[in-house]
């Protein structure tokens, strides 16, 4: 180990007396603008003692700082503390800022999925959905309120307006579809929960110690968390990521086009019980095909914005799915008819 300063700082964060006991393994983000991640191991342990992050590009330090601030604030709540790796220390070394978190047991759901040999894709996803239901309810219950359907529609329009402002020559077909679906959401006249969201609730960020309900679960990567957002966005993020899990290139784009149909099993296992638990009434209304379609558009518009925001350069995102997918879908389907009775103003 050559960087003695780094090793000593990590050992201090890990409360390890002898820095030479630590073995630093670097597993960096796969994105060109991602984070450098060190896992500090002590021989004999089954999990890393500490996980340390630093930005590969110093211009992107704000993302890691945002995660640090969110984790330290959220862990004050004992209901969330059990789900979030502890924030241990920050330190500067060789001109870079480092963020140290406690290592946690378990593997990500995606790691379990990609290492399956005999289990079928569908059976694994259904088990993930059951585990995700439990953990999403725990997170969302910490801060939630009933939001009117107009608020939900406004949330969709807010993301749509951002996309229209950020992307030159934004396709008219997507804008028309978005507005029409916003009207449909507003017409629902039932409430949906709004409050704390993880923001990137997906099989890549859920660590579990097994496949059963009741095993230890941790959520990582909290940099996108928000205190006031429609909470079904988290659920749709999970379902959508599951549908696309392990798919690349053309197969991925094809799966996006068929997402509502491919997600039927996950909707039954995750979205349906989540709506029943989180809403006082109206779950059946939201699960009707027309409303479900509107909720999908809400999520896709949100995801397209997220995808676009993550680009350090306009073309700096390898596997853009949502915006091209929305363009393709909006050109294939006629914009939904707006209800004349709607009093909702765009």
């Amino acid at each position: 180990m050559l960087n003695a300063t780094l090793q000593q700082a990590v050992a201090a964060a890990a409360s390890v007396a002898d820095p030479h006991e630590l073995h630093l393994v670097q597993c960096s983000s796969t994105g060109a603008t991602g984070a450098i991640i060190f896992h500090a191991w002590v021989r004999g342990d089954s999990q890393p003692r500490v996980v340390v992050k630093t930005p590969r590009d110093t211009r992107l330090q704000h993302a890691l700082q945002r995660e640090w601030d969110a984790v330290t604030a959220l862990r004050v709540d004992p209901r969330l503390a059990a789900l979030i790796p502890a924030a241990l220390a920050t330190f500067d070394c060789d001109g870079a800022k480092y963020y140290a978190y406690a290592g946690v047991p378990g593997r990500t759901m995606y790691s379990r999925f990609r290492n399956r040999i005999l289990a079928s894709r569908d059976s694994m996803l259904e088990r993930f959905a059951v585990q995700a239901l439990d953990v999403s309810l725990r997170v969302h219950a910490t801060h939630t309120r009933e939001a009117t359907s107009h608020e939900v529609a406004r949330d969709l329009l807010m993301d749509l307006a951002w996309l229209e402002g950020a992307i030159p020559e934004f396709p008219q077909s997507v804008a028309e579809c978005g507005r029409a679906f916003a009207h449909r959401l507003a017409d629902a006249r039932h409430h949906l929960p709004r409050g704390r969201v993880h923001g990137d609730f997906s099989p890549y960020n859920v660590l579990t110690t097994g496949m059963r309900v009741g095993v230890e679960v941790r959520l990582i990567d909290w940099e996108h968390t928000e205190a006031e957002r429609p909470q079904h966005l988290d659920v749709f993020r999970f379902v959508s990521a599951c549908v696309l899990l392990g798919l690349r290139g053309q197969a991925r784009h094809q799966a996006f086009g068929q997402m509502p149909a491919r997600a039927a099993g996950l909707v039954s296992a995750l979205l349906r019980p989540w709506l029943h638990q989180m809403t006082a009434g109206g779950a059946a209304t939201w699960l009707e095909p027309e409303m479900l379609e509107a909720l999908w558009w809400h999520y896709w518009t949100h995801a397209a914005r997220r995808e676009q925001e993550r680009r350090a350069r306009p073309d700096d995102y390898r596997d853009a799915t949502y915006l091209p997918g929305l363009v393709a879908l909006s050109q294939r389907i006629a914009p939904p008819v707006r209800s004349r009775s709607s009093a909702f103003a765009c």
Binding site: P171, R318, V327
Partner: protein, 232 residues
């Protein structure tokens, strides 16, 4: 509007990723903004370009540098034009080592001829960021042990080595090989770096895990980073 066809293609993205991650080992090695470095080897041009934002000054092997100022010497790719001649490689290493200040470090990235490249696309690409064929040789004729002995013979101390995955150009995982790290840590790194989701890939990952447990994997990694220090 950015049409789907105009989005960054996978090969172009990979090339950009390689450029962005080429010097990811700088964190682990402790390269600081005050350091003066020398870039050598067949890929010296790319290496110098990638290092320049993170250090004070980068010299090339063919440039004259003041004595006793070099904090680091990096070699990437074949060390000398006549790679086959052991004496030529040794002379290149010796010249670079002598140019280091006392306490400075020499680092070499190597492709392992006996590495398990065939399991995945882990061979260092010969293409540059514009998709052109690179002119430099990437595979060195001599292995990790040979280079380690050369460093030891020159008087280097604190010699250590790391495995670089998936390639020495874009090392997303850097695993301590000598001194070794715990098997569980190696398995986690292998699992993180090769994420293809298929039953065949899962079986291969299990086989790699068995090689780690048996202590064999440390000789089979496709790429290594070897580092030695010039004594103070």
């Amino acid at each position: 509007m950015e049409r789907p066809g105009s989005l960054l293609t996978e090969p172009t993205y990979r090339a950009r990723l390689r450029e962005a991650t080429r010097t990811d080992w700088r964190f682990l090695l402790g390269v600081s903004p005050d350091d003066v470095v020398l870039a050598g080897g067949a890929d010296a041009l790319h290496l110098a370009h990638s290092l320049s934002p993170w250090v004070r000054k980068v010299y090339r092997l063919d440039q004259q540098q003041p004595p006793d100022v070099l904090d680091w010497v990096f070699f990437s790719g074949a060390l000398s034009p006549q790679e086959g001649a052991a004496a030529d490689v040794t002379a290149t290493l010796r010249r670079a080592f002598d140019a280091l200040r006392p306490g400075g470090h020499l680092a070499i990235t190597l492709e392992n001829r006996w590495g398990l490249h065939w399991l995945a696309d882990w061979r260092t690409s010969r293409r540059d960021t514009h998709g052109r064929e690179s002119t430099g040789r990437s595979v060195t004729r001599h292995g990790l042990r040979w280079h380690r002995e050369r460093l030891r013979g020159m008087g280097a101390d604190q010699i250590c080595s790391y495995a670089l995955l998936p390639s020495r150009d874009a090392p997303r995982a850097i695993i301590p090989v000598d001194p070794p790290c715990p098997p569980e840590a190696q398995k986690m790194a292998l699992d993180q770096v090769w994420q293809r989701a298929s039953p065949a890939a899962a079986i291969v990952r299990k086989a790699l895990g068995a090689l780690v447990t048996g202590g064999l994997m440390r000789r089979l990694y496709p790429h290594y980073l070897l580092v030695g220090r010039k004594p103070c």
